[in-house]
Amino acid sequence: MLTVVFDAYARRSFPQAIQGTDEPLPLFYDEVHPVITDEAKAGRVWKALEKKLSKDALSCLTVSYLSELPELDLHLFRYICKNIDSPVSLENNLADDDILFVTNTFRKVLYERLRMMQFIRFQKAADGTYFGIMEPQYNVLPLAIAHFKDRFADQPFVLYDKRRHYGYYYDQHEVTQVTFDESLPHFVTGKLDESLMADDEKLFQELWRTYFKAVCIRDRLNPRKQRKDMPVRYWKYLTEKNK
């Protein structure tokens, strides 16, 4: 993306669309300029942005990018250009469509990160590793890993994003990126087979389900609120929602 910006300024020609190389071209186009990511060009653009934007705005750019939304690209591109052209930072000008779109995307990605922190459930495997799997809407694993590493510093764990086919393994010292054979049953269902579980795992799952049921006040049933705060798309991997 940063290379796209650099090329646009170098060529003094600003794009109407930005696409991945594998997407089909639109019906009408005048010119296609292939962009090859170039660290040096990107670095220069980033430096220029660092001078102008606050830290929050910079993280807004990088975080929103993890949404992987195709519509984002052009907005992001114009967000960057507008700020490069302007004498002051425009990051707070939410009346501007591009700034608003990027900022809203940034918020959505952060929200999905929170949901990962909320709804990941670990199952303890026989070898002591805690196994957690999810299908987040956006690519938030890189944003969430620091939280898990700090919180569960003394336990080995695997955090897996099944939608993007990768995860992280933490061995109580370091985090490494991993991919697994997803035809294994626990990657298909999200549930560790009893033969792979630690001795007490089944009991604690049972305890948690018991707790989940007992804590509900039946005079106040409110399934609508439950679904709003914990959308059904997350239920597949929730211990308390599965037997």
Partner: protein, 435 residues
């Protein structure tokens, strides 16, 4: 009871089918306490320890079928109790299954739930057995074990037992993030009527201990950076709504006075649930007063984040909150002279008073208007509820008539949901007989 065997960390010998039964009983008994979000502390993990707390409003890990956030393992040491508070399911005259956890069971449940990312920490209360100090001692043993033996850095909220001694309260506060003492009933006479063994002293004394110790520890930390923290997330309390004839005015005045104290962070409101149907001192409510409870929370937000004074929300002329419309809208309709507010010029405090504009959108407005004139389509994108706000603002081209042109009673009608059907079951229905 306290086990010092650190190597035994992962053994689950304490956990059995019996624990399952206890957990069910003790959670059923604890669930009516609503004051249980985890919030306020930031503590990163220590080397080799387990857990951190993230600050802010804490993380909800699940939502029960009643829609409430599950953030903490909310349970009790025991639900046996020598007291007989009329509104409480655990009162001694109730014939319900009783159970008691061992310290070890509680510690292990907390740790194992935490490791699986089920919870942020523990919320622990207890019925009173033998005497307040005996009970408090065992609660302290649980939190001390968690922090010192297991190096647990997750969130801990401990309910102080009414009437517990200062020494034990001080000891508990070294390990807990938050402590609370529930007021339950906003008026001492009603409290004594319903909870003969309690009075305001048994509630306010521990509150005062907590406050004194918190402030003392803050002073100390100014001098010695590593002096221990004392309940870093402050204290909270809870009031039951709808069990007594007290007005919202009485409740909110008490809340406002409590918030003026330096360590009081949250007041929770719990719509009374008719758990002890046989007790004629209590009103017969077919349903818990959920709308009223919700309005009280809204009013509470106005006190804490919208710079409202309690007398602006309820006073002797309006002792109860309007159930049909929210308290901010109600205030605006009583004060049409303040409106319309010019979005492009008015100060932040005034923008915050507009119905339909929250803290977030008010901040966005003030930030963005330095760059452009704000119009109504911008407002929509910033999350302003235009359906409400349009009667109370001017902003460039916006053409809707204001509250003054339409008159408050008509705006009220336009903004009252037409399906305000079941209004009466939320009103207080007084019992027919007083004893």
């Amino acid at each position: 009871m306290i086990h010092n065997d650190v190597t035994n960390l992962y053994s689950s010998a304490a956990m059995t089918e019996e624990t399952l039964k206890k957990l069910k009983i003790l959670t059923e008994s604890a669930k009516y306490d609503v004051s249980c979000s985890s919030s306020g502390t930031v503590r990163s993990n220590t080397r080799g320890g387990l857990g951190n707390t993230v600050g802010g409003i804490g993380i909800c890990h699940s939502f029960a079928d009643d829609g409430r956030c599950i953030s903490l393992l909310k349970t009790m040491l025991t639900n046996s109790c020598m007291y007989d508070c009329a509104y409480c399911i655990n009162r001694r005259s109730n014939d319900i299954p009783r159970a008691t956890f061992s310290v070890r069971e509680l510690v292990e449940l907390t740790i194992e739930f935490y490791r699986r990312n089920y919870i942020e920490g523990l919320f622990l209360s207890s019925g009173v057995v033998r005497n307040p100090d005996y009970t408090m001692e065992r609660l302290v043993a649980v939190v001390k074990d968690l922090r010192t033996i297991h190096r647990f850095n997750g969130y801990i909220h401990l309910k102080s037992i009414p009437g517990a001694s200062r020494e034990l309260v001080n000891e508990a506060g070294k390990y807990a993030d938050r402590m609370s003492v529930n007021i339950e009933i906003p008026n001492e006479c009603s409290l004594k009527l319903l909870a003969p063994e309690k009075d305001f002293k048994s509630v306010y004394e521990p509150m005062a201990y907590i406050q004194q110790q918190t402030l003392a520890s803050k002073e100390e930390r100014k001098l010695f950076r590593h002096a221990p923290r004392f309940v870093p997330a402050g204290q909270s309390t809870q009031m039951i709504v709808g069990a007594t004839p007290d007005h919202d005015r009485d409740i909110l005045r008490l809340s406002s006075a409590l918030y003026a104290r330096p360590t009081m962070r949250r007041v929770y409101y719990s719509g009374y649930i008719h758990v002890n149907t046989y007790d004629t001192r209590l009103p017969m409510l077919k349903q818990p007063p959920l709308v009223r409870e919700n309005r009280l929370y809204q009013a509470d937000w106005l006190l804490r984040f919208y710079q409202f004074k309690v007398d602006e929300i309820v006073d002797d002329a309006n002792p109860d909150l309007d159930l049909e419309i929210d308290p901010k809208l109600a205030w605006a309709l009583r004060h049409p002279e303040v409106f319309p507010v010019d979005i492009n010029k008015a100060p932040y405090e005034l923008i915050l008073r507009v119905p339909g504009i929250g803290v977030k959108s008010a901040t966005l407005i003030v930030n963005s208007r330095r760059f452009n004139r704000i119009n109504s389509s911008h407002l929509k994108k910033m999350g302003v509820v235009m359906k409400k706000a349009k009667y109370f603002i001017t902003c460039g081209e916006l053409m809707s008539p204001t509250v003054n042109e339409l008159r408050p009673e008509n705006v009220r009608r336009l903004l009252t949901p037409s399906t305000s059907k079941r209004r009466d079951d939320h009103q207080l229905q007084l019992p027919l007989f007083h004893d």
